[in-house]
Symmetry: none
DNA sequence: GTGGTCTAGACCACC
DNA sequence: GTGGTCTAGACCACA
């Protein structure tokens, strides 16, 4: 009990999901950082602890942490652990903005190919905004 | 040569693309149908002709046609070839609508996580609509 | 041996080196690309073949290829293999320029802390240029 | 407090740095000696004082002092403390010269692989000398 | 055949 | 205790 991670509330890491497990872990950590529940300098759960918590292999967790480190969201230090970088939240926010822009581009492209007018698309966006 | 496909103008089928080759072929055919360049009853190029045209293995083309048939976009007749179904264009339009809706959902989700307001997102959509 | 890689002449991959094996493989491939012995579109040896050639675990080779892909030097396609990107050589050249500039900065900093004059440092560079 | 170290102005000792903590301490002491702020016979802060000042474990400081002693930069006397050796500054200067030479070697190697001429490299060195 | 993912378990360096 | 590297070997998707 005392050794379980009380910081991260990882969403459902599911082997049934089409996304690789390590990407699900990456996404979960980024969600925590984006939401501010993990701030600069905060320690992530150790590889072994998170591995035990999520019932996922240590190596899979390590792979996720490596990707987060490459993305500049965390840094790892031998013997110490892994920590959120200063720029982490900003980088994730940038990724999200790119993702949102790309999604809008796809929505417009697909919608127009399907014969939707600009008004149709704007209406769909309003519906989506109201729904969530 | 009269044996080359003069109907389909396949976009670039490239091994450098992250998408599997057969999915690229599927997408290319659907694009032709959605755009009306292939109508109900029209014949698709034969497996061998398309294989030669695209410099892609016959097995890959066969797999693409199988997926198109599963999707109800084409039907195959032993010895005659493959033809666009009556419902083909409608099904593809439905797929495109689903795709547009899903993209809008992602845009809203990502944008909000990045701190965007509804106005910000609506503005980005307007920009996108104006640009294309 | 038809199954051995006749393209890459990997330098000495040594377990005695302080550098991780996968980094040695990364460096070896980059050397081939920088020297033009591997050009855009050229296929790298398959993971299994290179693993057998270098007597290094398949997984270690895979890790090296993953890093090369992240660096934009190669791209991998399931079922096809790994290939050099168009921009590969340019990226590596950029890395090398950065490395050279950084090394000069360190040389100046260390040399000055050791009491060397600018003339001393320029002389050492001339010696180095003449020696290699 | 009179018990804090007023001799060493250690640069930023940070767990965010990729270098191990004890190496950062070693480097900081060597910097003080190379700059002449710590001369032969001068006493270093006690293990406990430096540990408290840098907010670093006593074991880490001890390990750093052991390395400095192995390098012949300081010597320790039971119950008295640690002191800079006569030869300390000279040894560090030697290390710096080796470092400068090695950096020049790397600069030449990398620059040539990137296609730079000798003139290019000499020009880059001049720029670096002028900038700092 | 190819690469992509996941796992189990070794050994090492650092703190 | 921590993360870093290397290995062996499974199973899957794609061509």
């Amino acid at each position: 009990m005392g050794s379980s991670s009380n910081i991260l509330r990882f969403g459902p890491i599911s082997i049934a999901s089409p996304a690789p497990l390590y990407e699900q872990v990456v996404a979960a950590v980024k969600r925590e950082v984006a939401a501010g529940r993990l701030g600069p300098g905060d320690a992530l759960p150790s590889l072994r602890v998170l591995s035990a918590d999520l019932l996922v292999s240590l190596i899979t967790i390590k792979r996720a942490y490596e990707e987060l480190e490459r993305d500049g969201v965390i840094y790892s230090r031998q013997g110490l652990g892994a920590f959120v970088t200063e720029a982490g939240a900003g980088r994730i926010r940038g990724e999200l903005l790119v993702r949102a822009g790309e999604a809008l581009r796809i929505a417009v492209e697909s919608g127009r190919q399907a014969g939707l007018s600009d008004r149709n698309l704007a209406g769909m966006l309003r519906t989506e905004l109201a729904a969530h």
